[in-house]
């Protein structure tokens, strides 16, 4: 059969041949179905779709009062493609890719925010209108800025990339600030009506640190005692060690009193 196995694609022919040769007594029921709905063509290479980066801009003309829509297509490469790459799929590129990388390079922590990537119908985009940055049913995030910037670039006459970025960013910051204030007010309201939020992260951290300090204190005391005993043993005066042991608790007690 060679390298390529075409058995699956030729089931109908095989069945008809077997029937004609008398190997099977009856044609299977699916033979006419497969005849009516033939299998797909396999192993035929078509040229894969070629994608080009297209930019849409609105330009004002001194001659006409109306701004003109201009489409800029990315220039073709000087060196033509190798013939062997003719049937290879091409990279998909969109204008917002660059806007996205730029935004997230400037705001890396935006990537740390949780995001919903699930869609039930796939038609969420129908409810989005990027003439404003806030959308119903979509949380404000980096993607909002990117889409808003793209809309500005496509629909506002003589808009530059940095200008659009600034406008979109400003709207975004304003709304983020508003969200912060809303959150704070909500927390205050809740506290005023009797809600308790428990210790804050800072307080929990301090508590853990205190615990470690206490542990260190007991350990250091023990170490000091051991060292003293060692010194006494070297000098050969056990009564000194007894003395120091009796003195030490008193010293510590005094110290703690002083510190308090």
């Amino acid at each position: 059969m060679g390298k390529i196995n075409l058995t699956a694609l030729r089931v109908r022919e095989t069945a008809l041949n077997q029937f004609a040769a008398g190997k099977i007594k009856k044609l299977p029921q699916w033979v006419e179905v497969v005849g009516d709905i033939p299998p797909a063509e396999a192993l035929i290479r078509n040229r894969t779709p070629q994608h080009q980066l297209v930019r849409q801009r609105l330009q004002t003309n001194p001659d006409s009062s109306k701004p003109q829509v201009v489409f800029e297509v990315q220039e073709k490469r000087r060196k033509p493609k190798k013939p062997s790459r003719l049937f290879k799929p091409v990279e998909l590129r969109y204008e917002e890719d660059q806007l996205r990388t730029e935004f997230f390079r400037d705001h890396p922590w935006e990537l740390a925010r949780p995001r919903v990537v699930l869609e039930s119908s796939g038609k969420d985009f129908e409810f989005h209108d990027w003439s404003r940055i806030q959308q119903p049913g979509k949380k404000l995030d980096g993607e909002s800025v990117v889409q808003r910037q793209l809309w500005l670039l496509n629909n506002v006459p003589d808009m530059t990339k940095s200008n659009a970025y600034d406008i979109a960013r400003r709207e975004f910051y304003k709304l983020r600030l508003k969200e912060d204030i809303q959150r704070r007010v909500a927390a205050e309201e809740a506290q005023a009506t009797g809600a308790t939020f428990g210790p804050s992260y800072l307080e929990i951290g301090m508590e853990l640190e205190n615990e470690q300090h206490e542990k260190w204190k007991t350990w250091a005391r023990l170490e000091a005692q051991v060292m003293d005993q060692r010194v006494v043993a070297m000098s050969g005066a056990p009564e000194l060690a007894m003395e120091s042991e009796t003195e030490r608790p008193a010293d510590i007690a005094q110290e703690t009193e002083e510190s308090a």
Binding site: N5, L9, L43, N46, E91
Partner: protein, 349 residues
Amino acid sequence: MIVRRFGVRQSRQLLALNRRSPISSRFLSTETQTPVDTAQKEAPVSSPNPLHEVVQATQNPRSLAQKQFKKQEQQRSKFNKLGSAVTDSHDPEGLLKNPPRPSDITLELLLASGTHLGHSTSRWNPQNSRYIYGIREGVHIISLDVTAAYLRRAAKVVEEVAARGGIILFAGTRKGQKRSIVRAAELAGAYHIFERWIPGSLTNGQQILGHCATKVVNAMDEELPEFKADLADRPSVKPDLVVCLNPLENVVLLHECGLHNVPTIGIIDTDADPTRVTYPIPANDDSLRGTNLIAGILGRAGEAGQKRRLEMAQEGKTLYKPVTAGELRLDPFTGVLPGAEQTKGPKRD
């Protein structure tokens, strides 16, 4: 006084309950009281009235809990109208409970189900180049319009085979595909495999599936038990169409289908070999949501075909050539046996 008597007289069963017999305070009292006073004090303190006592006696914890539950329910029904109503929320079971029909296939639905995501570009099978739309982030993107077209075609095949009374087998042996496979088979009146395909189930069916039960049904799918004896020495039943959700893992199944000349439908990812199956569906076979969607659509198509077949059978028509009783009685090993003429029907598993 009259009421108490009435209660005592009318409710023997209540009196039969195990409880302290009512003692009139009249007989209990040691103090001298004016009759007027007793009448006044009696009423509020406790009940000499047997009806009241009975009510007290049945107040066990269970009735208390019932009361509490009732109260909660009332409260819930009262306050449920408050707050916001969640609409259009995502239902992950939706694809299993109510799968879409072939007519509901849209590019948006396929996109939302993630059927467009292929494999890393380095793992591609160049035979799939015509199904691929482009490369994104180092991953091949399958063309959604091609997926939709091939899926519709496959659905049509399933429907037609079901309408001709063919035996359809749904196979999906990956983890998590069990429920969708079972559901699709249930809808299409088909058979399913969600565990390993035992190699040789087709090529060595007599040994592996020989003990399995078979039956003869008529065109209305009613079993005809009088033919049970004739099924003894028959070869195992072969499917007329195999739907495979993961052709990569089921190479043996597809190979056996090729040997036995059975048409197959399979989900072909960018790293799979499209010539393994008769009807490829270029789609992502790693996303459970995607495979659930495709299995559901094919199940719905099978359902439509079965419905059509049964409707035609009601009118006494069939799209297939029915097997006569004489043919069924014919034993392949011993020779020809005489049989009845009037009963007929397709032989099904």
